[in-house]
Symmetry: D2
Subunit: 334 residues, 4 copies
């Protein structure tokens, strides 16, 4: 049984806490959050005795084996570093860090603690459909991959939160596209070498305040000359839309091109339609569970996760170059 | 150039008149309708000089080579008989007749005029998708056919007309299911031998006035022991829905299971949806054109149409047995 | 923690055993199976100490709180009765029994043990999509339900097992349609009053040996005059296909009309396609887990399950009437 | 009746000839092609008396009212100019020209003959689904358009022809993307101002011989800051794939995201699938017919077509800039 200290009770963090509670080989030992009311409410529900508002205090507890981090993005690397150096295994939500410098510091901490498990939350790799595609590609079923198109869209209905947390999110490329960038690298086994990114504030001018757009896109050239197209947006009218298309010389795979919430088709006076997942948790709930299970299993069996800290840095680096291109309007070499 | 005299300017009849006008080898020579205003309006538009309100008068004109009939169903057989006996080729809308006795009379007229082309409007056989299925079956691609399910549904939006014309329509089985019955015989090359039909007035009690239902269904056993399921309704919420599923031992074909009006997918706050055909003309416009083209080509090339008068009688007979079962509640031998 | 004694290590039974092992509030205490090799293999894997080849022996163990039954269908009722009378809570796979007399005996046992939880495995009610439909209906979103069409199809790839277990399965209507019958009653809140069933051996004559067909269908009239159409088959070419269509005066719901295994669309030289669930476990794995969770939660919280023993009897009765109609060719009153 | 002289009997040209033959208000008066055998074969079939192997000879015939051009792309502008200056109305297949200089010459010829109808074959504007989208956009149904993604993919099965005609096609951007560029301008009412294009020879190195790729893409920034993404390829595994996605602040439209050939769904051991259009004629046959009908109607009614010669030049200019970016690797201002 692995004792877990968890930080962060935002929407994602609360979901992680509940998942940790249900894992047979994990013990949700402690929770940390600045919001004391929320902290007590959730801890009561999940029957967690140890409660902290100070991360530094929590990691002092020697009973804790591992730390799971779902704090705001700009705090990830400092919590990662502290927890590793306190002798804990660490799982962190993406992105690794919001600057490349921070990521490099996290790398150092990982390298300094080689016997500790470190895992980053690129949860799409744990989705049934995304895994199916990976296997099909690895088995050569679609030939040589020459193009990946990947969308990350949040529903308009979530725009308030997007604006509120926008200034600390790192912007669309850091906050949303990191998943798509991870997939591109995973599916092509290649690295981006050039990028041009554009976009704008088409519906909500607020995003300009932190040099971001409400919808953005980027075209990337990879080092094997393959192409990648990223699109991220905050105004999807229909729901939470994550889709990826992978083109190979022998076949094309499309994942989630209709983000349907279930297997029901509705025929009424609006046509023939399907209801759509409205949030990342609705769409990827099983993946989030699977990644935490993998983290705990890795600790238990002393096995290294597939996703390394270097993947985290590399993805952040690329996202940063996208952002730079978006801000300067220039074609950027990576 | 074949000179055509056309009767009937209801929705279907007007569409046929326009099609006849556009065929390169047909000349829409005369039109007949009781409604003089409509007659003149359409004839003016289509530049048709010869106009009649009396069918008997029209068929006296020796310049007319062929008659196309889109009158109310209960008048089909008398018009067919008169036109054939006047030496004209005849195309008639389905059903052949609303009683089996009438159908038999039409058979006699066809037999008495063996050099005249007679064709019945089972237009689904001219639809690209239905033809594709027929070819796949004939090529053995789905193995032995053991089950056909076929739906004919009119949209609720057309309920007023359905109620207005209901008393003279022959009822759901005669008016709508004849197409499905034709398909079942076409796809299975077998004949129904037993039927049980049920249904009711679930939304509109008016249909009870002529012993009909607003939605009905029938299960049929064919003489090769294959199964068939018919469903017909007047209250489809989404549009004009005609779909057919054909199950074979090696494969299943589904035709039109989403009656989409075009290739556009709409993603908005109602989900992901497609707009739906709202009428038989929208869905089967091309088939209606193709069947009249076939009729005129048959005359020009002195070729016999695939669909015979006996198909018409047989289909009406079966529809009548469905109706009998529906009305009596009994299992009926055909 | 509820101590469970589980019987049956067939495909379904093994899956249930694994689910029981993973539930936080259940303890898989004992397993019973005739096949000693399998019994030890699975018990070793799941670290279950108590192993039985004799059901009567197992239920003597006073540490066991509840029994879960996944034996062959014809043994269900005797195991249910024995277990209840031994003071255990009971979960049984469907069908309740393969004769109505057996079902009545099970009812008696349930009635004689009113403080014990009894639950029957109509797992479709725990599927996300089927539940969504139930809620939509209950909220009046599709108006008055007047037609339910429900298919249960096993893939041809599983035909060997279907033939092997066929003689003891009770036949298609008892073995497969019970789920569909349960859904019809659940969605319409009405009871079938008449049925006509047909079918045959279209690909595999073996089913004739026990008066069954490889594909069968039934049309039912309900006591509120609504219609229901059942189809069950053993030769689906594409996979495990369970689909249900519910027609209401305001809308139509279709559940699982394409039983896709995941959200990947494949575009290759076979067209645009989706891969399909190949087994009931692949399609309904989450439902099977949810129903056992519900069973254990009901015990823990002393709550009665929604599905009663009377549902089981009623469904078996109806299935039996379908079978009678299929065997005699007659229209049967229920 | 408009007398037409038609040049070009390649696949497209032959299709156009047949369409012209079927139009009620056009007379296919003469055909011109270098291949005398083909010329006579098709002319015999279509009963066309006047046959030419020399375009200059054909346009001397004073009985000819209009010229329809389906020659190789690099000959378009000289034929357009000659025909207009000979006093004929002109329809030309896209692209207007393969260099911008040529396009400008065609503009001059159009301007010098203001009483003559000139129309360019951007046939997608005549497709039912593309028109539906245009109307929805114009009615404000999807709000403000901020992103268009448009694909033009030929099937791998057609690769031989693509390689054979590649050197004279102008390359992917000129040959294929002109349709997509036309759509972008049509749907957004905006002009591209910057482009970055990439791509390569991923399966067929032959395309390198004329500085082209077998698959290419381009990201464009429009003058209203909207985004556009173009993708063109020669190796679609599944068929002829033309799809367009238009994102607006209120809704998203996807046109043809599954280029299904008909309404049949096939359920067999390859999954659940649809067959796909295999050629531009299969997908857009009706649009090709509609555009020639519009051309002849415009002449008859002395009405100006919506698509002007300036659209042709502008689209070629933009396509050329894409090509320049592709060849130089640079970000290009338009």
């Amino acid at each position: 049984m692995i004792n877990i200290g968890h930080i962060g009770l935002g929407r994602m963090g609360e979901f992680h806490a509940r998942t940790l509670k249900s894992l047979p080989n994990a013990n949700l030992y402690a929770i940390c959050d600045l919001d004391e009311k929320k902290l007590n409410e959730i801890s009561d529900q999940l029957e967690v005795e140890h409660r902290y508002t100070d991360f530094d205090e929590m990691i002092k507890d020697e009973n804790i084996d591992a730390i799971t981090i779902a704090s705001p993005s700009h705090l990830h690397t400092q919590f990662i570093t502290k927890a590793l150096n306190a002798g804990k295994h660490v799982f962190s939500e993406k992105p690794l860090g919001v600057t490349v410098e921070e990521c490099k510091k996290a790398e150092k901490a990982v390298e300094a603690n080689p016997d500790k498990i470190f895992m980053l939350g690129f949860m799409r790799r744990f989705d049934k459909s995304y895994r199916y595609a990976k296997e099909a590609i690895d088995q050569g079923k679609i030939g040589k991959v020459y193009m990946v198109r990947s969308y990350s869209q949040d529903p308009t209905s979530a725009i308030e939160g997007a604006i509120k947390f926008g200034p600390h999110s790192g912007g669309e490329f850091l906050d949303m596209c990191v998943h798509d960038i991870d997939l591109i690298r995973w599916y092509t086994s290649a690295e981006p070498k050039q990028v041009w990114a554009i976009g704008g504030c088409y519906a909500y001018d607020e995003f300009k305040d932190w040099n971001d757009g409400d919808n953005v896109s980027a075209l990337l050239k990879l080092d094997n000359d393959a192409m990648a197209f990223l699109f991220a947006g905050r105004t999807a009218p229909h729901g939470y839309n994550v889709e990826t298309e992978i083109m190979g010389t022998e076949g094309i795979l499309r994942i989630g091109s209709v983000p349907q919430a279930n297997m029901v088709e509705i025929l009424d006076n609006k046509g023939v339609r399907k209801e759509i997942s409205q949030s990342f948790i609705e769409r990827f709930g099983d993946s989030f569970k699977a990644e935490l299970k993998e983290f705990v299993d890795c600790i238990e069996k002393n096995r290294k996760p597939e996703i390394t800290v270097y993947d985290g840095t590399r993805v952040s680096e690329i996202a940063y170059k996208c952002k730079e291109s978006f801000e300067t309007g220039k074609l950027i070499n990576i």
